[in-house]
């Protein structure tokens, strides 16, 4: 194990972790609002990616408009999920809700397969092609750098938003919904808004991670860009509540996962997944409440 090897783990891990962090943020937001793990969080991303791809590659839109269209498609899917699944099931048990979100994910994957029967494997072009730098010999693409930059911008924007009056109203509705209703906050609108923001975060993960490889239906859930499980792990590290925790958790999960690529573990099959699960298990045993939980989670 050399310093260079560790350097590569760190750099690659943080870049890959940026996608996990975006997914984790969405998971935490929805969990705080609806008390349920959102199985469809990553599919918001794949749906956004497909929509962006269709706009850019098939309809010939410019890249910017295509990505915007993809993000809008993701947000629309989030709002529809709230309207058609979450709201009607609001008095049902959490398990029912969980199954509901799984249903949304499977429906989305099904539609993607059906729409892409002829060409199942797609390639979304990158925002900017090429390698930006090679620290420790790790090739860092512009696409990855942009993804990391977007994550930082999103983290700051969310922190500012949740301290604004609208953000405080969302927190209030999540903490005591009856009391929020009684001061005149529309809890329904808060729920829509939260799902919309979560879907936007998922959409960002999709359109940013998509160009890194080829993609298929279910890309972010179980495909080449799978980020749902790592995102959930990051959210668990954040105690399912803390948003700064979700960001750091995503990066940590990314780095820990890359430890599985060290040459010392060359002989171990599936080392990446193994290292990650051992890490998560250890954390849950030592600190079941999560790693980065402050009292005033924002």
């Amino acid at each position: 194990m050399t310093i260079d090897e560790l350097g590569i783990v760190l750099v690659t891990g943080v870049l890959q972790g940026s996608v996990y962090a975006l997914v984790a943020l969405g998971i935490v937001l929805v969990y705080r609002a609806s008390g349920v793990f959102n199985f469809a969080q990553a599919e918001f991303g794949t749906t956004g990616l497909f929509a962006a791809f269709v706009a850019v590659e098939i309809w010939g839109w410019s890249y910017g408009w295509g990505v915007l269209f993809g993000l809008l498609a993701a947000v629309a899917m989030g709002l529809l999920t709230e309207r058609l699944v979450i709201h009607p099931l609001r008095d049902a048990s959490k398990v029912t809700l969980l199954v509901g979100t799984a249903g949304v994910a499977l429906t989305a994957v099904g539609i993607q397969f059906w729409q892409n029967n002829e060409v199942p494997i797609r390639q979304m072009p990158k925002i900017v092609e090429g390698v930006a730098a090679t620290p420790f010999g790790a090739a860092v693409t512009y696409q990855q750098l942009i993804t990391f930059g977007v994550l930082c911008a999103v983290a700051v924007a969310l922190a500012v938003f949740f301290r604004s009056p609208s953000g405080l109203a969302i927190q209030a509705a999540q903490q005591e919904s009856t009391a929020a209703e009684l001061v005149g906050i529309s809890v329904r609108r808060v729920s829509m808004m939260t799902w919309g923001i979560a879907a936007l975060l998922g959409g960002l993960a999709g359109v940013l991670a998509g160009p890194n490889t080829t993609f298929t239906a279910g890309f972010l859930t179980f495909g080449a860009g799978r980020a749902l499980l790592p995102g959930l792990m990051a959210a668990v590290l954040a105690g399912m509540r803390s948003m700064p925790g979700a960001v750091i958790g995503g990066l940590v999960v990314g780095v820990v996962e890359q430890l599985g690529t060290l040459s010392a573990l060359e002989q171990v099959h599936g080392a990446k997944a193994l290292v990650l699960f051992v890490f998560l298990l250890a954390v849950l045993l030592l600190r079941p409440q999560g790693l980065f939980v402050r009292r005033a989670a924002t």
Binding site: Q171, E181, L182, V183, S186
Partner: protein, 235 residues
């Protein structure tokens, strides 16, 4: 002048009714107390006035106008504010953030927000001292003060308070009741729900409820002459 008029109100959960057609009035500028034992239907009554529950039949008239199916939010804008049973402060927000959210319907009117905030701190100086503390870490009495203060932030014409004395020591309960006199003097009519007859001396009018019907209505000195405690509250 009649500020609140309840006509033939029938409210229930699922199959069976809890309120069996009640009628009463609250005059502008008074403190009215609604007394009754556990399960009498007091919370159901104020929740219906605040718009959290829909009546099966009957009307709630505020300032002469039927509130119909107005949402809780629209009722806050119209001037009705409920401090709910069990306080329900926003636990992971600070005292100050809780209070400011109380003025949500007036959030664009920063002058009123500032004035109501000063007023809340004036009623409950304890809250001013603990401005930056998370509401969930306050003592029970402080949380009750915060809940009343938050309900006042929208500058209501009618303040509904559901069992402020619940779980409080007699002294702290009295502090909260005493503030109702000041709230009244500052122009807000108060309807408070209580199980504790200790609130009677602070009221201009009393209503007593038993199993979903009103069994007594009285005003002024009568409240202090009749032994209401023995007659209705079994204590």
């Amino acid at each position: 002048m009649t500020l609140l008029k309840i006509e033939g109100l029938v409210v229930g959960y699922d199959a069976f009714p809890v309120l069996h057609g009640i009628d009463f009035e609250v005059q502008e500028g008074e403190v009215c107390v609604l007394l009754g034992l556990n399960g009498a239907g007091k919370t159901t009554t104020v929740s219906t006035i605040a718009g959290l529950l829909r009546p099966r039949s009957g009307r709630v008239l505020f300032d002469g106008k039927d509130l119909g199916r107005k949402s809780p939010s629209a009722r806050v804008s119209a001037g009705i504010s409920l401090c709910p049973e069990g306080r329900r402060v926003f636990p992971r927000l600070t005292v100050r953030q809780n209070l400011r959210l109380g003025a949500w319907t007036r959030r664009r009117d920063s002058k009123t927000v500032k004035r109501q905030l000063d007023l809340a701190y004036d009623y409950f100086p304890r809250l001013a001292e603990r401005e930056e503390q998370l509401a969930g870490t306050l003592s029970g009495g402080e949380q009750q003060m915060l809940a009343v203060g938050r309900a006042l932030m929208s500058r209501p014409r009618l303040l509904l308070i559901d069992e402020a004395s619940l779980g409080l020591s007699p002294t702290v309960a009295k502090t909260v009741w005493e503030v109702t006199s000041r709230i009244k003097a500052d122009g807000t009519t108060v309807l408070m729900v209580e199980q504790n007859a200790g609130a009677l001396p602070f009221a201009d009018r009393a209503l007593i409820m038993e199993k979903g019907t009103l069994v007594y209505t009285g005003v002024g000195d009568e409240l202090r002459q009749v032994n209401l405690r023995e007659a209705y509250l079994g204590a």
